[in-house]
Amino acid sequence: MARFLVVDDSISVRQFFQGVLAGRGECDLAVDGIEGVRLAGRAIMDRQPYDVIFLDIMMPQVSGLTACRKIREMERAAGLPPERVSHVVIVSSLSDPATMLEAQFESGADAYLTKPVDPGAVREMLCSAGVEQTLLAVLSDEDA
């Protein structure tokens, strides 16, 4: 069963993801960057890293970009093989070029979604992370 982590200080955003991800796997919730890093670190230590982590940016104390860097550091320190590292999706209302670049080139995120996010966008991310089957067989392995 797929494992998800949603890190956002907005209860409405956490509830949105909880609803979209219901029935698709286990979903843990964190209310800020510190708790997000703690949960991700524990999962890495248990050798059960999350399949997909949805990370807000603007949160108190530890931003999503800092949290993403820390998660990548923990994955490297634990020696996780590339296929076991989490697919990290930044989910933010910020859509300026500098932030989107930093998230994906410096902080190590795999993808970026701009709020407001709809369920279809989440599904696209799950397909891209390989935890949900895409409807289009053209992405199949034998076609790679």
Partner: protein, 168 residues
């Protein structure tokens, strides 16, 4: 750009988009492409039946001498965005409703100094921002190529990272 037989599991006609190609679509189809350091930007106008995509090789047209042996409309990221945006607006699209998504820009030769992948993405973000278009989603950078499928009827984009080096 050429049509290929549709997959049994996909009811949509499938189109393969090669490097330096782009188009506006008014009929439902699945557009496929494979990206390395190249960039694809998808455009989708909800409710208006308009979609577009390109696969560009290099960031900015002004940095290169004209080369008449290659088509120019979709060789450069900056010109590709302007070309397709103009076409969408000419067909009646409301600029504020256009959803743009950005993909590609991998460093397929890390350590070589000239990171064309990152420059391609910087250019795409800058031109989209200055054109007043909202980037709703992106998956860029890294060291792996990407296979991409764009549904022109829904605006959905499915991406799969691939391990081997690709050319585009």
């Amino acid at each position: 750009m050429h049509f290929v037989p549709q997959s049994p599991s996909s009811p949509l006609p499938t189109v393969f988009l090669s490097v330096c190609e782009g188009a506006v679509f008014v009929e439902p189809c699945a557009v496929r492409t494979v990206l390395g350091s190249c960039v694809s930007v998808t455009f989708f106008v909800p409710g208006e039946g308009l979609a577009a995509i390109f696969h560009a090789l290099l960031p900015r047209e002004e940095e290169h001498k004209p080369d008449r042996t290659l088509g120019h409309a979709f060789r450069f990221v900056d010109r590709s965005i302007r070309t397709l945006l103009d076409e969408l607006l000419a067909r009646g699209a409301n600029r504020r409703r256009i959803e743009a998504k950005v993909f590609g820009g991998a460093s397929i030769m890390p350590g070589k100094g000239f990171d064309v992948g990152r420059r391609n993405i910087e250019t795409a973000y800058d031109i989209l921002s200055s054109s007043g278009l909202r980037v709703t989603a992106s998956s860029v950078g890294g060291t792996l190529g990407r296979k991409l499928v764009f549904r022109t009827d829904t605006g959905e984009v499915f991406v799969k990272q691939i391990g081997r080096t690709v050319t585009g």
